[in-house]
């Protein structure tokens, strides 16, 4: 399998704050890789350097293709309220002839199950549907790599499950290479073929784990699968590296004490 993305010794520093400290990894064609790390560990900076929004202080990012697309967390700001749903999906395709643009947008909207909403404005749709529009827009662009920045962090749990399954289906059907940045351990295991675990700031690669689960996944059975549970625990432990472990006994004792104080006073 060829590599779609190669990141070599990527580092970025804002002033004297080192956000990323030398990351090296690859994403193979057709793979879905999740990057998981604690909040504020430099995941967003990583995404911004890979997407070319920020020039990294050092290292290289090479993409096997001409362009990539990004799905941002904040769909309501990423979509253009003055364009219809269809207009939004056509937004990155302006250089194409009108007929082809139309066809590609219609196709992408069908993939995410929104053919009926093409004429609506994005803000007339629910949050989950808006994020599906953003996904359709990214897919219509036919990117070599689809980057997703906490794509499902702003929707409710039910919608989140639906969108996760939609992503899995779409990328299987269209052989899309995807890199998802998330802080949610369960999500990274459920979605990923591989998980890159990052340490806190500056972000360094702690582990590169294969996900030993079949390609077909299911919200109920997969999440109770032994492999899923084991890997989730492993990632969780890895993310706690370097942090003082929580002493449950001590915490409970302190809690009891403060409670009795409140009662007695």
């Amino acid at each position: 399998m060829s590599n779609m993305l190669e990141v070599a010794d990527l580092g970025h520093t804002y002033g004297d704050h080192e956000a990323i400290g030398g990351l090296t990894f690859t994403v193979r064609a057709g793979e879905l890789v999740c990057v998981v790390g604690p909040s504020g560990c430099g995941k967003s900076t990583l995404l911004r350097t890979i997407s070319g929004l920020v020039a990294p202080s050092r290292g290289d990012v090479s993409l096997n293709g001409s362009h990539l697309a990004v799905v941002f967390q904040d769909y309501s700001r990423s979509l253009f309220p003055w364009l219809s749903v269809q207009g939004n999906v056509e937004f990155p395709l302006r250089s194409l002839p009108r007929a082809e643009r139309r066809a590609r947008a219609a196709e992408a909207l069908e993939w995410v199950g929104l053919s009926g909403a093409a004429r609506k404005r994005p803000w007339q749709l629910s949050g989950g549907m808006q994020q599906r529009v953003a996904i359709a827009r990214a897919l219509a662009y036919r990117p070599a790599l689809l980057l997703m920045d906490e794509p499902f962090a702003s929707v409710d749990a039910q919608t989140r499950f639906e969108l996760e399954d939609l992503l899995l289906r779409v990328r299987r059907e269209h052989d899309t290479t995807v890199l998802v940045v998330t802080h949610d351990i369960d999500e990274s295991v459920y979605l990923g073929d591989r998980i890159l675990v990052l340490s806190g700031s500056p972000a360094r690669l702690v582990a590169d784990l294969e996900v030993p689960l079949p390609a077909e996944r299911d919200q109920v059975t997969t999440r109770t699968d032994e492999g899923f549970v084991a890997l989730r625990s492993k990632v969780a432990r890895l993310l706690n590296v370097g942090k003082p472990a929580l002493d449950v006994e001590k915490w409970a004792a302190a809690e009891r004490e403060s409670l009795s104080e409140t009662v007695s006073s």
Partner: protein, 255 residues
């Protein structure tokens, strides 16, 4: 229909009171509305020459001045608003220029352009460009970061960035500026016609005053009111269509 009545009752009531007071006072300086209206009818409608010689040129000056100013204001404003440094350099100059009362520049424009259309246009353009310009700067700056990032990632061409993202994002503020400048245009049109010309509504106002024809003077004032009201209503209609994409508060609950 009830809404229509609600909106116009106070207006109509005041006209009736003015009519009664006008009759009672019988003052040549303050004629009752009935006289003003009949004078306006005779002067502006029954004399087609007055229409073509005064109203048409006035409205043409007003609209072309406003359009030129809008074009300059929007394009310069978007440019300045999207540039990191330009406003730091140009900002104080703009604030200074905006602070100059445009009528004070009428003598300067008279010297520069001689009396006539170009001097009048210069007065209107200089006077009304500021609200559009400053609102456009403000609007262009308000494009939110995620939209900037989205546009950058999709590597859209420059024209699409300006016309497809910055302009629509700035348009609510731009329209606010356009409305202010349109009413200012009416003011400056009248002022620019007070000197050095014998056509236009403003010049007719001056002439009526000089001839102690106060009813005709009032007829001119009423005409200006009607004109201002009509222009504002027309612009509001355009604005409603152009900004129809804006989320209405009730629908926003979804977002």
């Amino acid at each position: 229909m009830t809404k229509f009545l609600q909106r116009w009752t106070v207006f109509a009531g005041l006209v009736v009171i003015w009519q009664l007071l006008g009759w009672l006072a019988d003052d040549p300086f303050f004629p009752p509305p009935s006289k003003i209206l009949s004078a306006a009818w005779e002067w502006w409608v029954l004399e087609p020459a007055n229409f073509t010689e005064h109203i048409v040129p006035s409205v043409a000056r007003l609209l072309s001045g406003w359009l030129i100013a809008s074009l300059i204001g929007v394009s310069l404003g978007l440019l300045l608003g999207r540039s990191d440094r330009a406003m730091e350099y140009a900002g104080p100059l703009l604030v200074f220029l905006r602070s100059i009362p445009p009528p004070a520049l009428v003598p300067v424009f008279l010297l520069l352009f001689k009396a006539g259309t170009s001097m009048q246009l210069a007065t209107i353009v200089f006077g009304v460009v500021w609200p559009v310009l400053l609102n456009s700067v403000d609007g262009a700056r308000s494009v939110d970061v995620t939209k900037v990032d989205t546009s950058a990632v999709f590597r859209i061409p420059r024209w699409q960035w300006v016309l497809g993202v910055v302009l629509p994002a700035a348009s609510p503020k731009i329209f606010a500026g356009l409305r202010v400048s349109l009413s200012l245009s009416l003011v400056l049109m009248v002022i620019s016609e007070l000197v050095g010309t014998d056509n236009g509504i403003g010049s007719q106002l001056m002439q009526a005053q000089r001839e102690f024809d106060y009813t005709r003077m009032w007829a001119g004032i009423v005409l200006l009111g009607v004109l201002g009201y009509g222009l504002n209503t027309a612009l509001l209609a355009v604005e409603r269509r152009a900004l129809a994409w804006q989320p209405r508060s009730r629908d926003e609950q979804h977002a």
